[in-house]
Every structure is written in C-alpha cells, then in structure tokens.
Symmetry: C2
Subunit: 357 residues, 2 copies
C-alpha cells in the first residue's frame, strides 16, 4: 500500500549544468528523499525536501565505524518524453542484502521504490537527454547514532540523492586500460565484498591512485586468498569472450552481484551465446591472450554501463586485447542495453519501469 511521502518543494531552483559537461556525480538536483530510523519507531517520516546539507553529531557511527551501504541506478528520458528506470526492484533487493551484512535494519523495498519514483518525478527536469547521459540515482543508508562503542547503530537515515551524469570514464565508450593489482586486496571470502558498502571502496583508493599514475583507468582485483582468481574491476564486474564463449567470475561471496552483470548474462542467454559463470584465473586469461582465443573483454556496471577493456597489465606484463579496439559483441551488448534503458529499443525482458509524470 502506498505510504504518504511528505513533499516540500524548493523555492530556489538551481541552474542546470550543460549536458555536455556533466561528468559523473558532480551536480545534484533540487530535491532529495529522507527516511529516518530509530529502534523505537522503526523507519519513519518519509519526505522529499530541498537538496541541502545534513547535520550529524560528530560521534555519528558512520564517521567512525563505517556502518553505511548504498545503491546506484539511473533514470532515462526516452525520445517520446517518457521516464524510465532500469530494474529498480533489484537495487532495493540488493540494498537489503547489503543492509543485512552491515547489521542495518531492512528498508521497505516498496516504499523505497515509491520514494525513488516520486523524487524522479519532482526533479524530472533534471533528466538529461543527450546521448550517453542519464540521471544517476544514489540511495544510501548511514548510521547516525552518536555513540563510540563498536556496535550496530540504533539510528539511521535512508536517503536518495540524484545527479545528472555523462560517461563514467573520460574514455567514454573507448576501451579502458586496466591494471591487475598484485599487492592490495579489495575483499575476501567472509568479508563484506558482496555488500555495496563504503569500506570496499575505501580499500581500493590507494591501488587505484597508483594505477592512475601509471596511466590505467581502473584496477582489476584478484581474490584475497590465492591471488590468482579474477574478481572484479573497481566499479565493474568483468566478462571475457574466449573462443566464442563468454566467461565471468562466479559470485563467490567477495564479488558484487552486479545488476548490469545479471542483465548481460540474461541477454547473452537469450541470444544463444554460451555464457559461463566460473572461477577464472589471471593465468588462463593471459594464456588465452597468448594463443589468440581471447576475443573480447569488457566491464559492466550501472555507472559505466559497458566498458570495453583494451589492455591489461599484470606484473608488468601487458596484455593488449583486439589491438585495443572495441569488440563486436561488446558493442552489440552496449547498444542493446543502453537502447533498452533509454527507450530506443523495445524492452523484451520486462526490465524497465516507467515513472508517472
């Protein structure tokens, strides 16, 4: 049953940034959604308010013990003026799996989706329509109790903020260069790797910075135990087309269960292209590169959608893929997926959800 979301509109609308200079996550819309939690009341007071700073006690647990999770999804403006979301229910299912792993109480998925739709509707003028642009939606939960004992918080805020975005990588749809990290580890089995939580990203900043200085856009993480199994790229899952079959690392507890990843697997199956989820070693990837069977490589994620990988570097051994060009299947997946997302292609999978205006 729909709940009542209180709406306070801004009296001071911001100027919108030019659509060719959006970047990623730099500009924020005019409004945001907030829902509070206390042990006594549960989740309460759902409201849309003008986008504004939030005020927290400096002892709030999110600052000290990292009890926080987030989601990322996008709203698209179709050519005929409709607004679409892509599989938003999946995001709120994963949000609650992340919540469980971080000892954060469940958020009502229906209320969250209703809030998301209402917020997009209120700020619909912010959805850009230039090719490759969209409105990035960031639901997140933070622990707000002011207490320094290490224990789950008794108070939380669930919020949604929104940002009009262009391409996540400066490269756009051009292939990215990926550095295979051998020292640092993002996550390990038994840790929080499959939760979308802040600490996983903090752990990767050092290595990402070092890779960036060497000219690589992103890190490819190996498993934390044997340091040989491919896990994921900083903000993407990874796929490799080897000898006609598409491989992606199986969800092993330390890899994020990407919604784009799931969609790609689904699309490949529906196209009768063999796709296999299994542990993949970095050695076998290099072997496939050496014997000429490594046909394509790409990353998938909400922010980057699909990003071709043109080169990898593992222990100072470069592996150039397709001479650094985008693969045919990669391009077809990108065109089809973004086409479904932005409404240019009819959605045969029932993935899109229209936002009423």
């Amino acid at each position: 049953m729909a709940q009542t979301i209180d709406i306070t509109l801004t009296t001071n609308k911001k100027e919108k940034p030019p659509e060719n200079k959006l970047g990623f996550g730099i500009y924020y819309t005019d409004h945001m959604f907030i829902l509070d939690y206390s042990v006594e009341k549960g989740w309460y007071d759902p409201r849309i308010v003008p986008y504004q700073p939030i005020t927290l006690d400096p002892a709030a647990k999110v600052f000290h013990y990292g009890q926080t999770i987030f989601e990322g999804l996008k709203a698209y403006r179709t050519k005929d003026g409709r607004i679409q979301l892509f599989r938003p229910q999946k995001n709120f299912e994963r949000l609650n799996r992340s919540n469980a792993r971080l000892s954060i109480p469940d958020v009502d998925g229906e209320l969250a989706l209703q809030a998301l739709q209402e917020l997009v509707r209120v700020d619909q003028d912010w959805i850009p329509s230039a090719p490759g642009t969209s409105l990035y939606l960031r639901p997140f939960v933070i622990a707000t109790q002011a207490a320094l004992g290490v224990a789950p918080s008794t108070e939380y805020k669930f919020m949604i903020i929104m940002s009009p975005v262009g391409a996540y990588y400066a490269e756009g749809m051009n292939p990215v260069k990926i550095y295979v990290e051998s020292d640092h580890v993002r996550a390990v089995k038994g840790g929080v790797g499959e939760a979308k939580t802040a600490g996983n990203y903090a752990a990767g900043l050092n290595a990402q910075q070092a890779a960036s200085e060497k000219g690589y856009s992103q890190i490819l993480w190996l498993d934390g135990v044997q340091r040989k199994y491919i896990e994921e790229v900083g903000s993407m899952n990874v796929f490799f087309k080897i000898d006609g079959t598409v491989y992606t690392p199986s969800l092993n507890g330390s890899i994020l269960a990407g919604i784009t990843r799931d969609s790609i697997i689904h699309m490949l199956k529906s196209w009768d292209i063999p796709v296999v989820e299994r542990p993949i070693t970095i050695e076998e990837l290099y072997e496939a590169g050496a014997n000429g069977t490594l046909e394509e490589a790409f990353g998938t994620g909400t922010a980057a959608v699909i990003s071709p990988i043109g080169e990898m570097n593992w222990q100072d051994k470069p592996l150039v893929i397709r001479d650094g060009s985008t693969g045919e299947l990669t391009a077809k997946l990108y065109d089809t997926l973004t086409g479904i997302q932005n409404g240019d292609i009819e959605d045969p999978y029932g993935w899109t959800v229209e936002v009423k205006q």
Copy 2:
C-alpha cells in the same frame, strides 16, 4: 613551532554525567577541535569550538566510500591534580599511517598534539577521577568532498571529540568470553586491516552481534587466508602466556599495531619475561589448553586497557582458561599500566605526557 589555534568557548556548559554511570562513548564534552583541508589550501583554520553537530553535503565521500580513519587515546587526572596523556605521539604516527593507506593527506602530528592538549585543557573539568575512569579522546578524519566518482576526496575535516568513560566492557576487569569466528573475516593481507579505518569495524558487526546473542563479549578473528592464525579481538590485540612465555600474533599487515600492545611487549621485556611475536594458530592454543600449559590470556587496547580472557569458543569447542579467573601476570600488567597512565605509579618508560593547565 606552535600554531595559533582559534578558541571559541561555549556559553552553555552541559551538565556532567555521574562518574559511576559513564559507560563508553555516550557523553561528549563541551568543546571539539576542527581542522579543514582543501587541495588548494592544505590543512587550514585550526579551531576549538563548542561541541556541536557538523553539516555535510549528503554526497560527502565519507558517506559513500568510507574514506575515514580514527584514533583513540585517553587523558587521565592524577591524584595530585595533574593531567596526563599516554604516548600520544604514537597515536598521531599511526593516524598518518592510516591516512596513507586510505589516500588521505598527512596531518601535522605536532599540530595535532598541540590541538589535543589545548582541547583537553579547555575541557579539563570533564576528566573523571573515579577508579577506572578517564577522558577518551577521539581524533578522526572524514572525507567531505561532495562527489560520487570513486576517487580520493579533495576536502577533509580532521576533528577531535572527547568523552568521559568508564570501563569498556560491562564485565570491568572480570574475564570476558570470546567467540572464535569461523565464517566472517575482519581483514586480509593486502587489505586495510592495519589501518584504523571505519570499514574494518563495519565488517565485524554481524559476527559480533551473533556472538553477543550466544553470550560472548567479543569476536576473536582468524586470518582471512588460511583461517587458522589468530589475528585480533574486535577492539583488542591478544596475548597468551604459555608455559612461562608470552605470545602475541606478529604484525602481519592485517592486524592493528596497538599502542597498548606495544607497551605491554615493552613492559614484559623490561621485566625479563620472555615475549614472542609470531604467527599463532588456534589449534596450538587449544593444544596448550588441553595439555595444561595455557596459563593466561588477555586482550589489550586503549578502550579496554587490559582485559583477561576467561573462556573461548571455537567451532563449538569451549576452552576455559584458569577456570575463568584473572591471571597473576595479567593483573600485574593491568595494575602497572593503569598505574602509570593515571599517575599512581612513576613512569619508568617516559610514556606519559603532561598537559599544562
């Protein structure tokens, strides 16, 4: 050279809590310290202001990507009315090691120590004097740039807040029961385990909650690779006295380099008690328990100081240590260390730093 710290005193002092009901990290003093950072200015505007909420953009990186670190130390009121800190330089050295691991710029350790002393001086009436109490000091850094791209922040806040505290565990100096975790992992080599950063604590909340429901105060973490080497307890390093020698896990990259841990090792050496830092398996601990050579076990940390371990449970096998009583050496270490810290015992190590009043 001492910098100028701007001081704004509160006009509205809070009522102090009764010293027998302090708990841990529940009450905060009248003032706090703030130092801002931007890429352009570096660290700037050191100031002491009334304790108050802080205002952040909801896109601040600390909420999304966990770029934050902290420290913990204590101020003590001696019987003759002096105020002492315990090895505060060590905390700021570690703070900067944590900063480096989290891609946060270095904080000037001298300025941080000056700020800490000044803040303690301003709020000196908050230092409790009842046995077992102290003023807990919490320096921390949070990433404040409002940007959703995964990259190090361009803006930070370094802050110090303070809380009058009693015993960290409800048990006080009574032995605690520890649950040896077999599923979840706190940290792994190559991760952020040796940094004092939020994500390490978030990762442990689930297991700690489950252990608590089974009647255990804390988790003992095993290594993330082989799941057999003892790492640390949730908020403490661990020591075991076996057949006259004291053992503690060596610093392997995933264990926090505790300052209390370092102090205990130093004290044991100065007492000519053999102390060995090396990898320790949970199996050998249980063997020592079975053959009667496990004489004492205790945890060490700033919050808990020294906490005897009376019972462990690994894979449903309980290991009772000394029939659950506190060991002689554990008690002597506790008495000596807390005596040095609170000024009852003369400090032979040069560890205490007096705060001018």
